[in-house]
């Protein structure tokens, strides 16, 4: 089990970052998106190959309106 944006996700152990972003409805080439796994940034160039192990904490963020 992994945690994606604070929510437990089953059956995605070993998925790539690109797979997880697809779950969130995000295209791999979408502008203004960043991902961290266990507090470490995963560069966009590695999204297709970087796999997320069981127990990992994934944060996937994008721009929202803000001062």
């Amino acid at each position: 089990m992994i945690r994606l944006n604070g929510t437990q996700v089953n059956g995605r152990d070993g998925a790539t970052i690109a797979d997880l972003l697809a779950d969130l409805g995000v295209e791999p080439q979408a502008r203004g998106v960043a991902v961290a796994v266990d507090g470490e940034i995963v560069p966009r160039s590695l999204w297709g190959t970087h796999t997320v192990p069981a127990g990992a904490d994934v944060e996937a963020v994008t721009a929202v309106q803000g001062g």
Partner: protein, 264 residues
């Protein structure tokens, strides 16, 4: 007259108004306000991806042709702010960050020790750091000392529209700063933005005053004019304040009417 250019972190700007994107009711209004304000740089926040979101803010801003200044709003510790800045660098391919480290939920005032710690770490990591700070001249100097590219003191709390509560402190910050001073937070209307510029600030960052105005596009135009007017006035040199009047017409040579008791 030579072009009046603002330089922050080696980047030139012809507009001295930075726009926060928070609070706009619609993306279309945001885009129109960006155009009306003449701004070249707008702030965004970074949040977990919402699967329900219908618009890509990044795409809208890209189409507007403005530079994105990501903020670390919502962060209460240096640690969180550093992670958010690193995510922003990856998301927007920019080393620039508007550093916010908040110390109190009700006032959203900055947490000085955490802010300074985060600024130091981000500068060391190669970021161009623009810190949102209090109007404390000593803290502003400390932020400059650790390598911030600008300092952004508040006029009053975020979204309060209370204007510049301590113009004296803002003037002190301007006087001693070796980096650009951007008045950030508290602007309620055009006169507040003009005052900031008259005090010698290099730019104004404005969000709610525009986005939450009844007519955001008209207010964007108004505050732009305020910033430009204040900048011109600062350069022009205002007259000193006096307790009593100083006549602007000559006192000698005034024509005398006939005495009231003499028949015409």
């Amino acid at each position: 007259m030579s072009a009046d250019v603002l330089t922050i972190g080696g980047q030139d700007f012809s507009s001295r108004l930075l726009l926060g994107t928070g609070g706009f009711p619609r993306m279309e209004t945001l885009a129109e306000a960006i155009a009306a304000s003449g701004t070249e740089m707008v702030t965004v926040a970074l949040r977990r991806i919402d699967v329900q979101a219908r618009h890509s803010l990044t795409d809208v801003l890209h189409d507007c042709g403005v530079r994105i200044l990501p903020n670390t709003a919502g962060c209460f510790t240096a640690r969180d702010a550093v992670l958010t800045a690193q995510l922003a660098r990856e998301a927007f391919e920019t080393d620039w960050v508007k550093l916010e480290v908040i110390g109190d939920e009700r006032t959203l005032l900055p947490d000085a020790p955490e802010l300074l710690a985060a600024a130091e770490r981000l500068v060391a990591d190669g970021f161009i750091v623009l810190p949102y700070t209090t109007d404390d001249p000593v803290l502003a100097r400390r932020l400059e000392d650790v390598g911030c590219a600008a300092v952004m003191p508040l006029g009053s709390p975020i979204g309060s529209g209370m204007g510049i509560r301590n113009p004296y402190n803002i003037a002190l910050i301007v006087e001693s700063a070796g980096v650009p001073v951007v008045l950030d937070a508290g602007v309620g209307t055009t006169s507040d933005a003009a005052l900031a510029m008259e005090l010698g600030c290099d730019a104004v960052l404005c969000a709610s005053a525009i986005s939450r105005a009844q007519d955001p596009v008209a207010m964007a135009r108004a505050i732009r004019a305020g910033v430009e007017g204040g900048r011109l006035a600062h350069g022009a040199g205002r007259i000193p304040r006096r307790l009593y009047a100083e006549a602007s017409s000559p006192m000698d040579g005034v024509a005398q009417a006939l005495p009231a008791d003499r028949p015409a």
